[in-house]
């Protein structure tokens, strides 16, 4: 019996398309407003010297919680600075602040409304449930369609996720206020709005502040997800780390998030007590009773704290002004970009990182201003099709990324393959004897626990594996394919490899795993994986027309396997966060390559001039 299939997905799909075309002005407006807020806050937060700003934050902690808290806060931020994640931390802080402010602007009025009307409360509740439990990735991709890639969908996702506790706690706080007090206010002729301001909100404030605290915490927990859609910051660092199974970086970024979270949590908690009249009462009473350990709990007078913070801020601002002039670089004869901005997106795969930072360096040498954005694959293609990203260098065509190409081909330019052929395969560690070909897997499921460790179910190769490879070799039913993630697969491979356990994983070439471990690619005599892909560069539609020279360079770009693995190795050696340094060193060792890839025609300056005036 076949049950009616409700085309829910199609409706949503159609709805998204219609919203995108019909309300694009709205989304653009929201996007630029949020971006503006984010940029503003980020500029302020990242302007001062890290340790000075840490000092300001520590003074705030000292004022709100005492000397010990101030000291710990300073130590925590110093740790973030010492692991070289300061800028990321400030981006994350800005993202969380913007998200929190916007969330509260929506949540508090909504909560107040819900507290005054049962109908509103009844309508809002399931919506809030939906928002809170719907997996973020589900609405992140539409978020990119609406708002473009970058911090905005990350902030929007954070707002969606963090809104419910804000609304709920506001509603709860107001409803919790003693009915008799509200009645007393009414009995003395207080108008409803005054009742809210004079009685309900002040008394609900502790609960509302707990909600604010929740909003901030949930916002911080969303930064990793935001990192997957180009939100950058610590989330981006975590995402990059798990993508490369870089446990060290992952931990450092994770600890930085924890430090931020603890700071914000303790500060909002203390602020809640400071702001609410009831909290102040409680503090005053506790203070009257407390005796010893005076120094640790000593808190400066607000005036002292403000003066201290202002002095530090002035010093910080001054240093920022005087220290901020070092970034300008001489353009020279090869300056054809003249500061033109180009945005490059990449998936944190090794060849993607290598080629992206190679191009960043090459283009910057030619006078362009290049911004790189690390994204999840779906987000990358959506951003490219939407025009927020100019090009990306890591598209596996015609097979692996066929689904994205098919969906967005009208909005993309294919600048050709720069590396190939690639191959998809199943691999086993070399210590597994007697398995050389896919056919050899048959009958040995017990050895491998009946599992093939796969990657993201959305990946192109997973579809091929399930639909063709298993069928052709008669492995269906014998092996389960474990859906998961690339980092998960790599972690499992590392675990099994270290214990010399048999394991079959999905893998592809080029991949650093082949240099890190001794692995054997299983032969595919029936050719089920298809001929290899080329790694293509894709640009947004119209990019080449606007940047003919760059278009040409990309079109002509090619790398040999030797070059690519050499560059990848160099990047791996140099370490995270220094990709561009590695590229520079590598280019130094390979003189002449840069000019080969980005030749400057004689009339180049004229071209860019005329282009600009046109």
């Amino acid at each position: 019996m076949r049950v009616l299939r409700i085309p829910l997905g199609e409706w949503v799909d159609g709805g998204v398309d219609r919203l995108q075309s019909g309300l694009s002005w709205l989304f653009d407006g929201i996007s630029s407003a949020v971006t503006g807020m984010y940029d503003g806050i980020d500029a302020v937060l990242s302007a001062p010297e890290p340790l000075l700003f840490a000092g300001i934050l520590a003074v705030a902690a000292w004022w709100l919680r005492g000397l010990l808290a101030g000291g710990l806060a300073f130590a925590g931020f110093a740790v973030i600075d010492s692991v070289e994640l300061w800028d990321e931390a400030m981006s994350t802080l800005s993202l969380v602040l913007v998200a929190t402010v916007v969330t509260l602007l929506i949540a508090v009025p909504l909560g107040i409304w819900a507290s005054r009307s049962k109908a509103v409360s009844a309508v809002i509740r399931p919506v809030l449930d939906f928002m809170q439990t719907m997996p973020a990735m589900v609405y992140l991709i539409p978020g990119i369609i609406f708002f473009g890639v970058g911090v905005v969908p990350g902030i929007i996702a954070t707002i969606v996720f963090a809104l419910p506790p804000g609304v709920r706690m506001t509603e709860l706080g107001i409803r919790q206020v003693d009915k008799e007090l509200v009645e007393a206010a009414e009995a003395f002729g207080t108008a409803p709005r005054d009742t809210l301001v004079r009685v309900q909100l002040p008394l609900a404030l502790p609960t509302i502040m707990a909600g604010v605290n929740q909003v901030i915490m949930l916002g911080l927990s969303m930064v990793v997800i935001a990192g997957m859609v180009g939100g950058g910051g610590l989330g981006g660092a975590v995402y990059r780390a798990i993508g490369n199974v870089d446990i060290g970086l992952g931990f450092e970024a994770g600890v930085s998030i924890v430090i931020l979270a603890m700071y914000l949590d303790r500060m909002t908690g203390a602020l809640g007590r400071q702001v609410s009249p009831l909290g102040r009462r409680a503090l005053a009473r506790a203070g009257a009773g407390a005796g010893g350990s005076r120094i640790w709990n000593h808190r400066p007078q607000p005036v002292v704290a403000v003066v201290g913070a202002v002095v530090l801020a002035l010093v910080a601002g001054g240093m920022g002004v005087f220290g901020g002039t070092t970034s300008a670089e001489a353009g020279g004869a090869g300056d054809v970009g003249r500061g033109k901005k180009i945005s490059v997106g990449y998936i944190p795969w090794d060849e993607g990182i290598a080629s992206t930072f190679l191009w960043k360096e090459l283009l910057e040498r030619r006078g362009f201003e290049v911004e790189t954005r690390q994204l999840e694959a779906g987000a990358l293609y959506t951003g490219l099709a939407g025009g927020q990203i100019d090009f990306q260098t890591d598209s596996w065509l015609p097979v692996t990324h066929a689904q994205y190409w098919d969906k967005y081909r009208d909005k993309l330019e294919d600048k050709g393959s720069w590396y190939g052929p690639t191959s998809l395969e199943l691999s086993v560690p070399a210590y597994v004897k007697g398995v050389d070909s896919l056919a050899d897997l048959k009958g040995r499921a017990g050895e491998f626990k009946g599992r093939i460790v796969g990657i993201e179910p959305s990946a192109g190769m997973m579809g091929i594996l399930k639909d063709k490879v298993l069928k052709e070799y008669g492995l269906e039913g014998e092996y389960d394919i474990v859906d998961g993630s690339t980092p998960g697969m790599l972690a499992e491979l590392k675990r099994a490899y270290d214990k010399k356990e048999p394991i079959v994983t999905t893998l592809w070439s080029p991949h650093w795993a082949y240099s890190a471990y001794d692995l054997r690619k299983l032969e595919d005599p029936k050719g089920t994986w298809g001929t290899g892909d080329g790694i293509h560069t894709l640009a947004r539609k119209g990019f080449s027309a606007q940047n003919p020279l760059v278009g040409e360079w990309l079109q002509d770009f090619e790398m040999t396997e030797e070059q690519l693995t050499g560059l990848e190795e160099r990047i791996q050696e140099t370490g995270k966060g220094k990709e561009q340094e590695a590229v520079r060193a590598w280019l130094k060792d390979n003189p002449g390559l840069a000019d080969t890839w980005t030749p400057v025609p004689a009339e180049a300056s004229n071209v860019s001039q005329s282009h600009r005036s046109g």
């Binding site: 007090l181 009645e183 007393a184 009995a187 003395f188 207080t190 009249p277 009462r281």
Partner: protein, 369 residues
């Protein structure tokens, strides 16, 4: 003109309240309505309160007294009927008009004090004035005066949670007095207090009332309190006013068994007065002697005290000094025992009473030990 008049007030909660009122008018019972999802909280309540009176509404929980009170200042809108305040129909006022009346003319004291915990005692007392927009200096002056009236001078800067229950309710009272409203609604205002404090507060309220002459509607479930405070008392049961009258009316002539069962526990000697127990003066009873006398309004308990000191029936003199009646001891004893018959002369010679025997026996034991 009465200060406050309630005319056929109904309050029905739940479904189709207007229809329910119609059915109640046609004699339907409360239980019938409840089966249909409508709760009749107040049914056909009519009364009037004169200026300077304390009007007490007495009833058990669920009798509708609190609902009735809240219709008097418009916190609840009557389903049917009218409330006239100084002749003005409150039920016809809009929300804004009602708020104005509540801010300046009618104030309220609550059962659980309902003090704002985030405001100091002074700010609490000044709340009603702040709502009216009275300037800070002026409202603090008036609030300080009100606190002084309520016996809380010197506590202005304290916080509500630092005060005892009785003191908190004094703040509540001061808050109600500060606005200089003519009508005070008091909703079980002393019920949450300890018995001794409650008595204190009742005394203080009566004391204040002598000076301020407010009009007060006081809700209580305690008949003793109702009798002590009330110039007139309405007894409510199941949403209806079952009896309306003075304390004496209710004690001496309960309207039905329900009220009668209620008044059993009342300390009648502290409610009824000499005029309720006195007999016709017989010539020469106490005329002309210089012994203590009482007024018709003296409580029976006080008459007992006088009687213990006077060797003959106590004379009751009115304001002009004329003897209007006498209270023999047998009447007082009979009153305490709820016996109205006159003593019957005894037909046997005096014997030792059992009590005397017992006393002697006890003394014997003590001597032996």
């Amino acid at each position: 003109m009465s200060r406050l008049q309630a005319e056929h007030l109904y309050k029905v909660f739940g479904r189709r309240p207007d229809e329910a009122v119609g059915r109640l008018e046609n004699g339907s019972g409360r239980d019938e309505l409840r089966a249909e999802g409508a709760t009749a909280a107040v049914i056909d309540a009519s009364f009037s309160v004169e200026p300077g009176q304390i009007f007490v509404v007495m009833g058990l929980s669920g009798s509708g007294k609190s609902t009735l009170l809240r219709m008097l200042n418009g916190l609840l809108e009557p389903t049917a009927g009218r409330v006239l305040f100084d002749g003005r129909d409150l039920t016809a006022l809009g929300a804004r008009g009602l708020r104005e009346v509540r801010a300046s003319r009618i104030s309220m004291v609550f059962q659980h004090f309902a003090l704002f915990p985030h405001r100091s005692v002074l700010e609490n007392a000044a709340y009603g004035l702040a709502v009216q927009g009275v300037a800070r200096a002026e409202r603090e002056r008036r609030a300080t005066e009100a606190l002084e009236l309520a016996g809380l001078a010197g506590w202005e800067q304290s916080w509500p949670d630092e005060l005892s229950g009785g003191m908190q309710q004094r703040v509540g009272l001061a808050r109600a007095l500060a606005t200089d409203a003519d009508l005070l609604l008091m909703d079980e205002s002393f019920s949450a207090l300890d018995p001794l404090i409650r008595r204190d507060m009742q005394d203080q309220l009566l004391e204040l009332q002598k000076r301020l002459k407010k009009t007060i509607v006081f809700i209580t479930h305690d008949l003793n309190e109702a009798m002590r405070l009330g110039d007139r008392i309405a007894v409510m049961r199941d949403g209806r006013i079952v009896q309306l009258g003075t304390a004496e009316d209710i004690l001496l002539r309960p309207a039905d068994d329900y009220v009668a069962s209620f008044i059993q526990d009342v300390d009648r000697s502290r409610v009824l007065t000499a005029s309720a127990v006195m007999a016709e003066p017989r010539s020469g009873d106490a005329d002309g002697c210089g012994c203590e006398t009482v007024a018709p309004g003296t409580l029976v308990a006080d008459v007992c005290a006088v009687s213990a000191r006077v060797p003959h029936p106590v004379a009751v003199r009115d304001a002009s000094g004329d003897v209007v009646g006498v209270v023999p001891q047998s009447r007082l004893v009979g009153f305490l025992g709820d016996e109205r018959a006159e003593p019957v002369p005894c037909d046997a010679p005096a014997r030792r009473l059992p009590a005397q025997q017992a006393q002697q026996a006890q003394q014997g034991v003590r001597a032996g030990a």
